[in-house]
């Protein structure tokens, strides 16, 4: 991908994340009213296609957005260049996605 395509991917993933973040935090504030239990969370999320789709898209957007930002940091602060920087960024991005996907699966399956 070109630098411009990465720039657009990072901005568009931010655009996607904005409503997800608001809903995510909004539900958190709503859900903790009157205490918080694992059973209450799982009761809401388990078997829910809506929350599965919501958090899968959220995790994908986060993985794209954070990976591109970390790639810039690896270039400007760590001094990595070329394939090493791209490869390491891709591994981190894949790791973020797998960790996120595992968490989503754990609460919705």
């Amino acid at each position: 991908m070109s630098e411009f395509q990465l720039y657009m991917a990072q901005r568009l993933s931010a655009l996607v994340m904005a409503p997800f973040v608001i809903v995510h935090i909004g539900v958190m504030i709503y859900a903790i009213q009157g205490g918080l239990t694992a059973a209450e969370i799982l009761g809401r999320t388990q078997g829910s296609v809506f929350w599965l789709a919501f958090y899968v898209m959220f995790v994908i957007a986060v993985s794209i957005h954070a990976t591109i930002g970390l790639r810039t940091i690896l270039g400007e602060w760590v001094g990595l260049r070329g394939g090493l920087r791209d490869g390491l960024s891709a591994v981190i991005g894949l790791g973020l996605f797998l960790l996120g996907a595992q968490a989503v699966w754990a609460v919705t399956a």
């Binding site: 070109s2 630098e3 411009f4 990465l6 720039y7 657009m8 901005r11 810039t72 270039g75 400007e76 602060w77």
Partner: protein, 243 residues
């Protein structure tokens, strides 16, 4: 009269073949004196081997920029009284550029990037045609006018932390030049400009920290010019084109 009759001036000496080292000089202090006056006094009265660059002495040519107390400045228009700290000043070569010797920085990377950002005229007409009439109050023209007084001094390039972290980054001056041409009714190839600023080290590498605009001695605003390029490339991505 100044409080002291002498300034303590620390000058960075050396170049690619000799290690950089600071050297301290005592220079007579006057009520009215610029940093360039001080450097010239050292070269003319103490050490004729001191290397530095200047030409016009009136803030037009952009030759004399140096680091003064760690900040890039046009030295011919920088009064010592405004920057002196405890009777002392430090002068060094511009940051983010190779050093030729002492205070003379190698400007080649700066001007190479000017060309790489497509900072060149793409004519709409030939010399056989009538001169195109330009509306001086058109919004495009106003946008272009805002950036054309750049004197190529490289103060913005030296002030930019993105240039420091990313050697490929074209830098504020080159991108501002691209933006003025993009808004010039007499420029025929806007796509070539947007292509040039969309590549590796292009306008999208800018983190909008704004040191360029903060330090520009002519009070230009490269930060906004780069934001304009980001908007124009994004508009083009979504299919919006400028005529």
């Amino acid at each position: 009269m100044p409080e002291r009759d002498h300034l303590t001036v620390t000058v960075q000496r050396g170049g690619p073949d000799t290690p950089q080292r600071p050297q301290t000089f005592e220079v007579p202090a006057y009520d009215n004196q610029t940093v360039l006056d001080v450097v010239s006094w050292i070269q003319q009265n103490t050490d004729p081997t001191l290397t530095y660059r200047f030409a016009c002495r009136v803030g037009m040519c952009g030759s004399c920029a140096m680091m003064v107390n760690g900040v890039p400045r046009w030295t011919c228009r920088t009064h010592v009284s405004k920057v002196v700290k405890g009777g002392a000043i430090e002068v060094g070569p511009l940051r983010n550029l190779p050093v030729i010797k002492d205070l003379a920085a190698d400007m080649d990377p700066f001007f190479d990037k000017w060309v790489a950002a497509e900072g060149m005229h793409h004519p709409t007409r030939t010399r056989e045609d009538e001169i195109e009439a330009i509306d001086p109050v058109a919004s495009d023209r106003q946008e272009a006018n805002a950036g054309i007084e750049c004197i190529n001094c490289s103060v913005c390039y030296s002030a930019c932390d993105t240039v420091a972290g990313n050697p490929d980054y074209l830098g504020p001056a080159a991108l501002q030049r691209a933006w003025t041409l993009y808004n010039d009714a007499k420029d025929a190839d806007r796509d070539a400009i947007l292509d040039a600023v969309s590549g590796k080290g292009g306008c999208h590498s800018c983190h909008s920290m704004g040191s360029c605009t903060a330090y520009c001695p002519n009070e230009l605003d490269p930060l906004s010019a780069i934001a304009g390029l980001k908007r124009a490339t994004t508009k083009r991505f979504f299919g919006g084109r400028k005529g």
